[in-house]
């Protein structure tokens, strides 16, 4: 939420306090956002926190209950970043709404210049294409970084594989699962399926034997060769994460810079910590990290990150 609207909001709240003496809104909490002013007077949209888009049924039940009670509409809105928004909520109901949602540990999300709720695909738990455990990352990022003030909004997302459903190219910081394949000749039956499935011609089947020639420079680490191989000749060499920085949507979109491949899981939080540190030191007020990178040069960022983004 922009500073101006918070001020307006406080004024509005004060008015209610003065006039009705019944409103008990915790404005400090509201400043962390999640309450978005609507066109309609005194009505707000309440954005709920659903990290990684994973919503326990227990919480969903409570949301239905609370929305039915306090929303002036007969629907909820599913936002583009996996949250559920309850619209047409009157300012006088904020306090009760927040309290009742808390009974099911359902929290309100954030707006404004902060680390936002992380988004993620369903990851490797049950999605056959998933390489990385995006849900585990999303829940952990939510715990560690949610709501931390920044120069501007800061969106983090996790995609489980290079299909990139979580749109890491459009996020301030994105991680995408990758798997580096390796080929073992003895079990290969020369079926050519790996070459057929490879989306980037990183695998070419030998004209005579059908066995693969692998060109790592063209590999995007999607693991389709491993998935399709009927003889386990293609197997996992290692898994990791592609790191993307500085993407955004908005009036002037910017595609993220891909700055690393196959970064091990245990280094993901080092990358986030250090990136936020660089942004904190070098960013300007109301400037997205992508614009900081454009202003200073990506090399400045890479220099600062040092070995954390190195892979071999």
């Amino acid at each position: 939420m922009a500073d101006e609207s918070i001020k307006e909001f406080e004024k509005l709240g004060q008015q209610f306090k003065d006039e009705e003496k019944i409103l008990k809104v915790d404005f400090d909490k509201l400043k962390a956002g999640g309450f978005i002013k609507q066109r309609q007077k005194d009505l707000f949209t309440v954005r709920l926190k659903v990290p990684g888009g994973r919503l326990p049924i227990k919480k969903l039940r409570k949301i239905i209950e609370v929305a039915s009670k306090y929303s002036g509409s007969d629907y909820v809105h599913v936002s583009f970043r996996q949250s559920i928004e309850i619209s047409h909520v009157h300012i006088r109901d904020f306090d009760n709404l927040v309290k009742e949602l808390k009974e099911a540990d359902q929290e309100v999300a954030s707006c404004g210049a902060r680390v936002r709720v992380p988004t993620a695909c369903s990851g490797c738990e049950y999605n056959p294409r998933g390489i990385s455990d995006t849900q585990k990352f999303a829940q952990e990022v939510d715990k560690r970084y949610f709501g931390k003030p920044q120069h501007h909004k800061f969106k983090i997302s996790f995609s489980g594989c290079p299909i990139d459903c979580a749109r890491t190219r459009g996020m301030d910081l994105g991680f995408q699962g990758e798997v580096e394949p390796k080929w073992e000749e003895p079990s290969c039956i020369g079926c050519r399926l790996c070459a057929k499935v490879c989306p980037t011609t990183a695998i070419i089947a030998d004209k005579d034997t059908g066995k693969p020639h692998y060109y790592p420079d063209r590999c995007i680490y999607c693991g389709q060769c491993i998935k399709v191989c009927p003889s386990d000749s293609w197997c996992v060499n290692r898994t990791g994460n592609c790191v993307r920085i500085g993407g955004k949507h908005g009036y002037i979109p910017r595609e993220a810079n891909t700055v690393a491949h196959l970064i091990p899981d245990e280094r993901v939080f080092d990358v986030i910590d250090k990136t936020l540190e660089w942004y904190g030191n070098n960013g300007q007020k109301r400037e997205r990290i992508g614009n900081t990178i454009d202003r200073m040069g990506i090399s400045k960022y890479l220099e600062f990150m040092g070995d954390i983004l190195k892979w071999t």
């Binding site: 039956i189 020369g190 057929k196 998935k227 399709v228 009927p230």
Partner: protein, 77 residues
């Protein structure tokens, strides 16, 4: 090189995952070490069925182009 097989199953026009289920049932009714030939469409079927059959514990012997389709040879385990 031709491959000897004991039974054949034409799954032309059969979509995933029905094609895999039919292959699986056919193999269940066959004695160990017999070879099944399966005709599969290009696209999803040829990308999915061989791996699934393998994951069920059978041995994929070969995959051969067959016009615009494929022939899969599986040894029952």
């Amino acid at each position: 090189m031709d491959i000897d097989y004991n039974q054949t199953l034409d799954l032309t026009g059969v979509a995933c995952p029905i094609n895999f289920v039919k292959t699986k049932l056919k193999l269940e009714g066959m004695p160990k070490d017999e070879v099944l030939e399966v005709i599969l469409d290009d696209g999803e079927p040829i990308m999915n069925v061989p791996k699934s059959v393998k994951e069920d514990g059978h041995k994929v012997l070969a995959i051969k182009p067959f016009g615009d389709r494929f022939k899969l040879y599986v040894k029952k385990q």
